[in-house]
């Protein structure tokens, strides 16, 4: 599947920009040399599984999952980095969840490799991946009740 075909499919899932007069889907071509990705898509949190399915069918590899705590905006961003091994093309999928209730569905059922990445993101940010088979600490101690990469965590 070509990148433009993937973009078309992801654009149907993507969040639409709020401020423009005619809202456009947030599925943006990015210059690889500048951003390190070829396509940057923001999806609603409940639809990350749909985006994951599109990229899995296109034989993309999920390379990492991580979070970013935008405390000033009261939100956390989850970023999924994909790559296509045959061409080196990269796609980033983003989803914003409210800080007060950071929850979104797991993609473990689609990519088994997501299991540890989601556990790590849960460790560091307290983001809950609903439906995850075993969301216990991966890198932090087994009784850890803190999330060190939250911006209000003192260290």
């Amino acid at each position: 599947m070509s990148l433009s075909a993937i973009k078309q499919k992801l654009a149907e899932i993507a969040v639409r920009s709020a401020d423009a007069a005619s809202p456009v889907p947030l599925a943006v071509d990015t210059a690889h040399a500048v951003r390190g990705t070829d396509l940057d898509v923001t999806v609603p949190p409940e639809r990350v599984t749909d985006a994951a399915r599109v990229l899995d069918e296109a034989a993309f590899m999920l390379e990492s999952i991580t979070g970013v705590d935008f405390i000033a905006e009261g939100q956390m961003e989850v970023v999924y980095d994909y790559t296509f091994t045959a061409s080196g093309e990269r796609v980033a999928i983003r989803a914003r969840v409210p800080r007060a209730k950071p929850e979104l569905p797991t993609v473990c059922g689609i990519h088994p490799g997501a299991n540890w990445h989601e556990r790590e993101t849960h460790d560091f940010f307290g983001i809950v991946f609903t439906g995850h088979p075993d969301l216990i600490p991966l890198l932090l101690p087994e009784d850890a009740d803190f999330h060190p990469l939250r911006k209000d965590y003192g260290a």
Binding site: R35, T37, M61, S64, V68, T83, T85, L139, L140, A155
Partner: protein
């Protein structure tokens, strides 16, 4: 040999492999559920040397975080540094002088050879052969001496800077590298005769630890693991960076999918690295090794970017998020070893324990890189 784990009606027992066990090459624990000598389930338990490098990346300036990058994958420290400086350079729009890019490639490829030699020696010890390690460390020592002269360190290198490298290389480094390349080439037939054709080694490797290309993709396994399963994925070719597009080299790949496939990839990769080093030394341009006007207090513009390098163990990625201050807002370090180990649980089911350990060794894990 394997066992049909679906139809078990026999008693199983749980045993801990590690966290202190020579076969895991670091503080890694694997919780094994065993039926006799056969593995029913092998669950890796991580985090014994977790140091929260990503938090340290947020609470100090970009430059002050540089030494941390030598302490993740300490066997191939230059690759982590390369990924980090290149990601920040991409975000800040810094152009690196040509000579510095060449020096980065030469030192990184030397580091790759050193890393593969260390793996070769340690893997053979895993399989019960002690002597090859002495030969491998002998060759590796030459690389460490070369790198020590220019970087000041033998293991936890902190040599790259935003915009270039810390020191220029001198004539001794250039001539010493040429001597090393010639010597290492002459040693390869010896390794082939000594190790590759050894019947005990072959019996531990051929047909053992089969990992399919699809399994690699589903788990995000990269580096010699995916290339040993027939996929020619190498970041140096897929997303050419630094001075790599200037050199001719092949991506070492093997479709054996077993321990032998991963062994072949690493050995062939040593030869390809020597080719790159030789070309880079021959074409080494003159000029500065640091970009002009890199501010002492670096504040990349607001935004984020991703940068990947092909480390000795696979795709090492850095995602930097900047809020235009002196410190990174977020620094994600994507470790190749984490994904390479992840598939172990699925692939080791039904294997004999000694075979599973042979497979574990063939993944070339560095635990501090997993735990970060």
């Amino acid at each position: 040999m394997s066992l049909d784990v679906q139809n078990l009606d026999r008693e199983t027992f749980v045993v801990n492999l590690g966290p202190q066990h020579p076969a895991t090459h670091g503080v890694l624990r694997i919780k094994l559920t065993m039926d006799g000598e056969y593995i029913v389930d092998a669950e890796p338990v991580l985090g014994y040397i977790h140091r929260m490098h990503e938090k340290m990346g947020e609470n100090r300036s970009y430059a002050k975080f540089l030494p941390n990058m030598g302490r993740m994958d300490y066997v191939a420290a230059l690759f982590n540094s390369h990924g980090y400086v290149a990601a920040v350079e991409r975000l800040a729009g810094i152009t690196v002088p040509e000579r510095a890019e060449f020096i980065r490639v030469i030192t990184c490829e030397l580091n790759r050879v050193a890393s593969h030699l260390l793996w070769l020696g340690a893997y053979l010890i895993d399989l019960g052969g002690f002597t090859p390690m002495l030969y491998a460390f002998d060759d590796r020592e030459m690389i460490l001496d070369l790198l020590e002269a220019v970087t000041g360190a033998r293991l936890t290198f902190c040599y790259f800077r935003f915009g270039g490298v810390a020191n220029d290389v001198d004539e001794n480094f250039v001539s010493g590298t040429r001597v090393f390349v010639a010597r290492m080439r002459s040693r390869m037939p010896m390794y082939e005769a000594f190790v590759s054709k050894n019947i005990i080694f072959r019996k531990r490797c051929e047909g053992i630890g089969v990992i399919s290309a699809e399994t690699c993709r589903r788990y995000g396994a990269t580096g010699p693991v995916i290339r040993g399963s027939g996929v020619a994925y190498d970041v140096r070719k897929a997303e050419p960076y630094s001075a790599y597009p200037r050199f001719q080299f092949n991506v070492a790949v093997s479709d054996l999918c077993d321990n032998m496939g991963r062994y072949r990839v690493r050995v062939d990769e040593i030869v390809e690295s020597l080719r790159i080093i030789e070309q880079a030394i021959d074409q080494l341009p003159g000029g500065p090794v640091m970009a002009e006007k890199v501010p002492r207090s670096l504040k990349p513009p607001k935004g984020d970017c991703y940068f990947n390098v092909e480390s000795a163990r696979g795709s090492f990625g850095v995602r930097v998020v900047s809020d235009a201050t002196e410190n990174a807002y977020r620094l994600k370090l994507r470790s190749p070893c984490l994904s390479n180990l992840h598939l172990f649980r699925e692939c080791s089911r039904g294997m004999l324990l000694p075979d599973a350990l042979a497979m574990l060794g063939s993944l070339d894990l560095v635990i501090p890189d997993i735990d970060r």
